[in-house]
């Protein structure tokens, strides 16, 4: 009783401080435990930057070279730490430059808080200098957004923004602050937001659904589990492993679900989807019960939905109700947080093994190994292949680095051949497929996980979309390892042109500058290699180098990524060549 009273007194003792809106906003970040920001100043956000000047001891602001870089860096930070990534940008072009990263975070459920400056409230709607209606522009790609026009709105709005960004299915939030609200004074008190009446981030599990699911699972002859990033976001790695091991059910991961189960786990059947592994794709259409956890049946995972898992009863465990029955009709829908659902399901399921069923996967694995993997990672002739590079990186980093990949062929190869063993390790642009993601994201990842090796694996196309962030890496001496898998092509588009457009290579060949010289001009140590015998030594040298390092690897020009589920085909029609 006494402690209760004391606590109450303490709360009452929270006396307001008179602050400018700008400083109040900075104080909100401090109150929420933020330590890192990525941003770019400009006219309409100058009061906030001025307030930030006095908080250098508590907040580490990284000046990026383009606002898109700020969002990707914040995404990299968020994915590496599980915390909310924060970025600042000014109004107008600053704000619009954030949109790609926000859209990426929206599709990949990454908690982001974007603060944009805005023209003074009296000028709103008048086409003022650097005015853009970022609230309307960002609406389709944010979990929530809000325009602040008064200083006293700052604290409660920021508290809501943090709460919304990281609770439930996480996502990006944008707060637009007019310049007059930044300059105006207010009485600042910060109270964290703990609930919003119109928002229920954590659903209440229906016990009856758990029982229905358990019954299906216990009766299954050929059950298969597919898991996504929901496992990582809810921190359910341990629960997933327990479930898989007790139930004996083989499992496959979505692109973003990789690293939620150790790659070498005997029941890990590999990656699902268009360029995923052979076994999990083919066997999806053979299983009799499909248990999907923390994933949303993206079209790159399902292929043709009309023929997807048609022999299976589908159990879908998902925190976002709007994803349930959106693409695949479920037989048992469990609207729940993945960790909670798996924990509650575990005692209801029987301990089992499926030796014959698992052996079917092993047959497929063997086929893929012979037809594809061996040639990819141990080629005997020809130019360096992307697969062998990634395989070596996995070896050299003891499967324990934070791997940041961009978008395209090199991304699929990276995800196929890096053997993830820890969470917060697989950072890539999944849903949006944003070329240019990896270089800035690696900056955020390294700041978020300073004691781990962070390796960015990027194609020559994607690298040139955000290479200005080498300036950020140089300025802050961020020791990321950058690998360019350079084939002088937009490789994935070229592959499609080869396979589906009669080799008409329409605008996919790139004539590139000397990337090692680009790096050199940014003060980043660099090397270019093109011979197989130099590969291992070059990778070792890069990993042992103390600062940032760029390794330009000239790879096979017309390599194709297989297996492949052609667009519109069934997952079981996956092609091995």
């Amino acid at each position: 009783m006494e402690t209760l009273v004391l606590k109450k007194k303490k709360n009452n003792a929270k006396t307001p401080v008179r602050l400018s809106g700008a400083e109040a906003l900075i104080r909100c970040l401090v109150e929420e435990g933020a330590d890192t920001l990525f941003g770019y100043p400009g006219g309409a956000i100058m009061p906030i930057y001025d307030a930030l000047y006095d908080y250098g001891d508590r907040l580490n602001h990284i000046l990026v070279r383009h606002e898109q870089g700020a969002t990707h860096a914040a995404q990299g930070y968020a994915r590496a730490t599980g915390k909310t990534g924060i970025c600042f940008a000014t109004s107008g072009p600053g704000a619009t430059n954030l949109i790609t990263g926000i859209a990426d975070a929206f599709l990949d459920s990454t908690p982001l808080l974007c603060i944009t400056g805005q023209v003074i409230s009296g000028l709103l709607g008048t086409d003022a200098f650097q005015e853009t209606d970022v609230i309307s522009i960002s609406k389709p790609v944010t979990k929530w957004n809000f325009q602040i026009t008064r200083a006293d709105e700052i604290a409660p709005t920021m508290a809501r923004a943090f709460y919304i960004a990281r609770s439930g299915r996480p996502g990006p939030v944008l707060i637009d602050v007019t310049k007059d609200a930044q300059l105006e004074e207010c009485d600042f008190v910060y109270n964290k937001c703990r609930s919003i009446r119109s928002y229920k981030p954590v659903p209440v599990i229906e016990e009856v659904k758990l029982k229905e699911a358990a019954t299906l699972i216990n009766q299954a002859k050929k059950p298969f589990m597919v898991f996504g990033q929901g496992i990582l976001l809810s921190g359910a790695k341990k629960e997933l492993k327990l479930f898989i091991e007790k139930s004996g059910i083989p499992a496959g991961a979505t692109l973003l679900g990789l690293s939620a189960l150790d790659s070498d786990h005997p029941l890990h059947m590999g990656m699902l989807g268009m360029h995923g592994n052979y076994a999990p794709n083919v066997k999806t259409n053979d299983c009799d019960v499909l248990i999907a956890v923390g994933m949303r049946f993206d079209d790159r995972v399902t292929g043709n939905v009309k023929s997807y898992a048609k022999n299976a009863k589908v159990i879908h465990i998902e925190i976002d109700d709007a994803e349930i029955d959106k693409i695949i009709k479920t037989d048992v829908a469990i609207h729940a947080d993945a960790k909670e659902a798996l924990t509650k399901l575990l005692p209801l399921i029987k301990a089992k093994t499926y030796p014959e069923w698992v052996a079917e996967f092993e047959v497929c694995k063997k086929i893929e190994n012979e037809k594809i993997i061996r040639k990819d990672i141990y080629p005997e002739s020809g130019k360096i292949r992307m697969g062998e590079v990634v395989n070596l990186i996995s070896e050299i980093t003891d499967d324990n680095a934070v791997i940041v990949s961009d978008v395209g062929q090199h991304q699929m190869v990276t995800e196929r051949y890096y053997r993830y063993s820890t969470t917060n390790s697989n950072i890539t642009s999944g849903g949006l497929g944003t070329m240019g993601f990896a270089l800035p994201a690696s900056i955020g990842a390294k700041i978020g996980q300073p004691h781990r090796q962070v390796v960015a694996i990027i194609g020559d196309g994607g690298f040139q979309m955000t290479l200005q962030e080498l300036g950020t890496i140089f300025q802050y001496k961020i020791p990321v390892k950058i690998i360019i898998l350079n084939n002088n092509f937009l490789g994935m588009v070229r592959q499609w042109q080869q396979m589906f457009f009669t080799k008409r290579y329409s605008f996919t060949e790139l004539v590139n500058p000397e990337f090692s010289k680009v790096a050199e001009s940014f003060g980043i140590t660099s090397q270019k290699i093109s011979e197989r015998e130099d590969l291992k030594a070059a990778l070792n040298e890069m990993m042992e180098h103390e600062g940032p390092y760029l390794l330009d690897i000239i790879v096979e020009k017309e390599e194709n990524v297989f297996p492949m589920v052609p667009s519109g085909a069934s997952v079981s029609d996956i092609r091995l060549e």
């Binding site: 609406k139 389709p140 919003i196 009446r197 119109s198 928002y199 109700d321």
Partner: protein
């Protein structure tokens, strides 16, 4: 899948820009909104939207869930046509001179259960509440009488299972 007409009832906070958030859920799927109505509900500060559109059932359900997911939306409910009682209101402005002869107007109003709500020297205003086909029928009958202006509202709806709908919104209030 077969397309049919659905109505969504949305209960929301009073938040600038929420209408935009709702409509983009339709526009991104290239779904046309047939009528939309928004007004304060019986609870102060809680707004009620009524949105009418046509689609197949799966799309209607997905759209409803995506609206329900919006942070400032308290709840969104999907209704089939037979689950609701709905009305629209129409106003017809007709030149007063058209009705000088006899009791035609009276007969017309009686036939359509419509009322005159305003009589001016030059024009009169007739009000008719009903389904669209009913307000449309009156419109057709009034055409020979020099119709000066016509306006029809969006649909307003109460559900046949009204208790449940109320209960959900009330529960939200009690929780906070």
């Amino acid at each position: 899948m077969e397309k049919r007409r659905f109505t969504i009832s949305v209960f929301s906070e009073d938040r600038i820009g929420l209408l935009h958030s709702i409509t983009i859920i339709f526009t991104r799927r290239k779904l046309s909104i047939e009528s939309i109505n928004s007004s304060e509900s019986e609870r102060k500060g809680i707004y009620r939207y009524t949105i009418v559109f046509s689609s197949d059932y799966n799309m209607a359900r997905n759209v409803t869930k995506q609206i329900d997911k919006l942070i400032d939306v308290l709840r969104a409910f999907l209704h089939e046509e037979e689950q609701i009682i709905h009305r629209e209101i129409a106003l017809y402005k007709v030149a007063t001179s058209s009705f000088y002869n006899g009791n035609e107007v009276e007969q017309l109003l009686r036939k359509h259960s419509a009322n005159i709500i305003r009589i001016e020297q030059d024009y009169l205003v007739i009000e008719k509440t009903g389904w669209k086909k009913e307000t449309q029928a009156l419109l057709k009958d009034l055409e020979p009488y020099n119709l000066l202006e016509f306006a029809r509202s969006a649909r307003v709806v109460v559900t046949k299972r009204w208790k449940r709908l109320h209960k959900n919104v009330l529960e939200l209030e009690q929780e906070h």
